[in-house]
Symmetry: C2
Subunit: 299 residues, 2 copies
Amino acid sequence: MFKNILIIGCGLIGSSILRASINKKTSKNFFVYEKLKKNIGEIKKIDKKIIILKKLDNKISDMDFVIIATPMSQYKRIIPHLNKHLSKKSLITDVGSTKENISKLKNNSLSKSLHWIMSHPISGSEVSGPKYGSKSLFINKWCIVFNDKNKIKQKKLVNFWKKIGSKVIIMDEKIHDKIFSITSHLPHLIAYNLIKTAQDFQKTQKKDVIKFSAGGLRDFSRIAASNEIMWRDIFFNNRKNVVSAINLFIKNLKSFKKNIENLDDKTLRKKLVNSKKVRQQILNLKQDIAKPDFGRDQN
Amino acid sequence: MFKNILIIGCGLIGSSILRASINKKTSKNFFVYEKLKKNIGEIKKIDKKIIILKKLDNKISDMDFVIIATPMSQYKRIIPHLNKHLSKKSLITDVGSTKENISKLKNNSLSKSLHWIMSHPISGSEVSGPKYGSKSLFINKWCIVFNDKNKIKQKKLVNFWKKIGSKVIIMDEKIHDKIFSITSHLPHLIAYNLIKTAQDFQKTQKKDVIKFSAGGLRDFSRIAASNEIMWRDIFFNNRKNVVSAINLFIKNLKSFKKNIENLDDKTLRKKLVNSKKVRQQILNLKQDIAKPDFGRDQN
């Protein structure tokens, strides 16, 4: 498919793309730009043929496919190097979780001769770093590829994601940022906030709550253990949609509170029963494992 | 240990107690009071020696251990039968998730000659019914037993839970209801509310969000699929503590919103990093499986 793939930033996602790409032979050569020493050690273990670059200099001019997989706040520092060394024959993509900001950034800062089509693979984990990457991370997961005028390059990008196992869907960045404010950004913020609330309670009430987290809290703690740089970037970049989502959430929560205070059985039960239906929809869409308690069993 | 155990209400928890009890031979005979036909069919499959009672009549007078495992809203209907047919040689317990209300109820309605010591095993699942019960549901899980003057009977109850695998801790009902408002009741309410918010968004924006739930929402959908009768009872019975927990949660969420609107990097990051620590505490306490993504993999 490609001759030279370059992955810029090789953490959980970058290293999973790398592993899947090597496995599926999507390229002849595999280059990685990574600065963290700890990460480089892990990356070298993946495959001998991986070439590690320590600078984004003229060595990258031969890359025909470049994937940016750093936190979004680093894109600004990367673009000038791409402008300087890449040419129009390269295809650039990224895996950032918000898109309106990236779209603006590339319109403003990327050289007009370069071609960057955005991607967003919907996969990840609460753990970070190349150690946790997996060649099957993308299998049967959605990857969103963003509308582009150049349909040949867009098709090439779609084929790449399909080759490493993704189901691809084409989307527009405005819609994307709205949808994911609800399905991903709000849930993460809520998980962080719930853990913060439990911590506050533990501090003021001097009661051991973490010890009894198996009744629900532990699930949220997993999501709230996600990488803070990545999530700061997401919350800040998609703040308009995230703030709307928070407002809708608070409105609904106040209404729930009222139902409880008024012992409003009918309304409360209707809401609980309605929520239940979503789980079945998610399972029907194969978006989660169809086992009680995620098949989790720590005995 | 016992001669005759009676389990009143044999859903997920009741049938798990039944299975574990048979497995550990905690009694000579095993009786179940259950009215739902569908459940009775499942219970009969567990073991031939189980005796199913269709009425709480004088047949229960020989029971030396009675476990109430129905939704809490049914306790009121059950107590008169216990008053009529049981004697002081029986030990009664329950597995309800809130305790101040049960404590009041038994003080007001239970015959003074009977002995009921409350329990709360911290285990469960989003699925309901005896079909999903398991003999190992309680292994290494906390079970809370409530302070009682009769230390001999209390010890007997503690030994029962230990025998079927639980780690037992003695607690007072006021403290219990506070702690679990934070570790269990608030997380469930938040999960229900998040799913409701996603449903509202899907309706008003006419955008398909459930399809893309793998980025976070799906985790909440599991908890929000929990039994609505059980959770209505919990929210109503513990409403004082639940409302306080909601208020603290909203206060914290508004503060998060402010941090995001103001792009307050330092405060936001500090909060995210602090939340992360709780996950490690939970794993150290063996309150969850120590695998990324709960070891879940639906490929």
